[in-house]
């Protein structure tokens, strides 16, 4: 075995190309910036379209100096404010605690230090039962859709309605149809299907329909475009933007898909080594001189 030449692994190749590139880093970062600017110019909706119904500076989701650790620190001293109608994207490498932030906002986790404010109200001291009520303000779209696989598509979307409203069957059926149509699914075709019979993109859309069934004012997305082909990714992104534009919901998107984020976010927070190292608009981020930010953007624009 020892005599055999070591096969070149993906990691090796990656490393070689890294060293090669680091020689002309400056040239590269200039090129990256150019690429991102053109990306923004082509894809980004105008500010008015993106800003949608943003009118007030009312804080809807706010984290104040939040720290959390399980044995090892996950996030440290994270603070940000998302105002009404904004779409805040939280980006960063895998495993930097992006999804943890969503769980903190939903109060599935409680921070060790700091406060999480929803509509200006601190949710950290709430009991489990009180938290269930606060969560009704929010709709969450999970990375793997997390549809209940023992229930049909109809039952999935109807679930939050049956749980929390007094709507009768007709009203529920109507609302489910409306939501499925909103996410571009034909209600009559998919309603009776089970989640296992759907494609990844369709599951994602049903997930969004379920998340918005209760007409929440806050939508949370965990990697909404991961594992989808480029066309479906586009569809999902347009859907998220439509939701924000037409219904004025406040959104929090966790993603490492920087292209998608730049198209739909009004604000970007970069999570690096457990802390937020950048917070600003996508344009500001693209213009930043920070080496890590450039590397991060470059890693996805190439």
């Amino acid at each position: 075995m020892a005599d055999l030449p070591k096969p070149s692994t993906f990691d090796d190749r990656q490393r070689t190309s890294d060293t090669a590139e680091s020689d002309d880093d400056d040239r590269k970062s200039a090129a990256v910036r150019q690429a991102i600017r053109s990306e923004l110019a082509v894809d980004a909706p105008s500010d008015s379209a993106r800003g949608g119904k943003r009118s007030s500076d009312k804080s809807v989701v706010e984290l104040q100096h939040v720290s959390l650790a399980f044995d090892v620190p996950i996030i440290e001293d994270v603070s940000f404010v998302t105002c009404e109608g904004e779409t805040m994207a939280i980006v960063g490498e895998s495993g930097t605690g992006k999804s943890t932030i969503l769980k903190l906002v939903l109060r599935l986790l409680v921070p060790d230090r700091g406060f999480v404010l929803i509509d200006g109200e601190d949710i950290t001291p709430l009991t489990f039962e009180e938290a269930l009520v606060v969560r009704q303000k929010m709709g969450m779209v999970f990375q793997g859709s997390a549809l209940f696989d023992s229930m049909s598509v109809f039952e999935n979307v109807a679930y939050p309605l049956r749980e929390h409203t007094d709507m009768d069957e007709d009203e529920i059926a109507q609302r489910v149809r409306e939501k499925l149509q909103f996410v571009d699914l034909e209600p009559d075709r998919v309603m009776e299907q089970l989640p296992s019979e759907l494609s990844g993109g369709m599951k994602k859309r049903v997930g969004i329909a379920r998340g918005m069934a209760n007409n929440p004012r806050i939508m949370l997305y965990d990697e909404p475009t991961s594992g989808l082909d480029p066309l479906t990714t586009g569809t999902i992104m347009r859907l998220i933007m439509k939701l924000q534009r037409e219904l004025g919901v406040t959104s929090l998107v966790v993603s490492h898909d920087i292209r998608a984020v730049f198209r739909m976010a009004t604000k970007v927070a970069l999570l690096h080594e457990r802390r937020i190292t950048f917070l600003g608009t996508p344009e500001e981020m693209a213009a930043s001189d920070d080496r890590y930010i450039q590397d991060f953007l470059g890693g996805f624009s190439s």
């Binding site: 939903l106 269930l132 969560r135 009704q136 969450m140 997390a146 549809l147 209940f148 696989d149 749980e163």
Partner: protein, 271 residues
């Protein structure tokens, strides 16, 4: 040495924490039986899953257990010329011990593993988080219906198991020993009567035979839900939870069975 002690301390703490979590889960699930909202449909569905669908294996288990009991004891009793007491033996063994324990073990294997696998998959695919997010307490929605169903259905299955087992004894008694059916059933009833009555009317055997499956049912449901909800580590974790559920609940059934018997024998006046 201190390092060793620290590790021992940590291990002990985590064991106690596990035990505490187990009982907190059991307590919550029990409390939710009487708290709104009720998930009636889930309860009915679980009763079907736990009870009706376990009927086949429980009937088979009971039949062959009763038959082999009669067969084995016929050999023993014959040497004393006491073959006529075969009904006493089958009835006492089935109702007091084998009925509850075997029904419990079969349900632990069939239903416990199923519950753990289902809840485990729901955990790793974020469906449990989704329930929480949609404002539903997963314990109320998932654990309580299964607990209710198990508390009701395991005793029902046990009664069926007992009955089928005694019929199995009847078959062997008449085929092998040529004992008339009427004679066999008479000895069955005599044994139950001989074991005494609580409050003058409830046979002691029935109290023992029904206390056990109620406890076993609760044990199976809570153990399965505990391991299922605590699943980590993807699909592999689901497999581990399933195995742990079956092993733990089976062992618990056998251990708890001993202690229930001990307590009941000292409380109830036999003979």
């Amino acid at each position: 040495m201190p390092a060793f002690l620290t590790r021992l301390n940590d291990a002990a703490k985590s064991k106690i924490l596990t035990l505490q979590e187990y009982f907190v889960l059991a307590g919550k699930a029990l409390r939710f039986i009487v708290a709104r909202p009720f998930y009636g449909q889930d309860v009915v569905q679980q009763m079907d899953e736990i009870g009706v669908k376990s009927l086949g294996i429980v009937i088979l288990t009971g039949l062959f257990t009763g038959m082999v009991l009669a067969l084995q004891s016929s050999v023993q009793l014959k040497t004393f010329g006491a073959s006529i007491y075969i009904g006493n033996l089958v009835s006492a063994s089935m109702i007091r011990e084998l009925g509850p324990v075997l029904a419990g073990l079969m349900v632990a294997g069939r239903v416990g593993s199923g519950i753990a696998a289902q809840l485990g998959s729901m955990r790793v695919t974020e469906q449990i988080d989704a329930l929480n997010t949609l404002g539903t307490d997963p314990i109320k929605k998932l654990v309580t219906p299964r607990l209710i169903a198990a508390l009701v259905m395991v005793p029902v299955l046990t009664i069926i198991n007992d009955f089928v087992g005694i019929i199995g004894g009847n078959i062997i008694a008449s085929l092998v020993l040529g004992l008339p059916g009427a004679m066999y059933w008479r000895t069955v009833w005599v044994q139950i009567a001989n074991d005494g009555f609580a409050l003058r009317v409830i046979p002691n055997d029935f109290i023992q035979g029904l206390t056990k499956p109620i406890v076993f049912g609760g044990l199976i449901a809570v153990t399965a839900c505990y391991f299922g909800l605590g699943t980590t580590g993807g699909t592999e974790g689901v497999g581990q939870s399933t195995t742990r559920t079956v092993v733990t609940s089976s062992i618990l059934i056998l251990i708890v069975d001993y202690f229930i018997t001990q307590v009941l024998l000292s409380v109830l006046t036999y003979g």
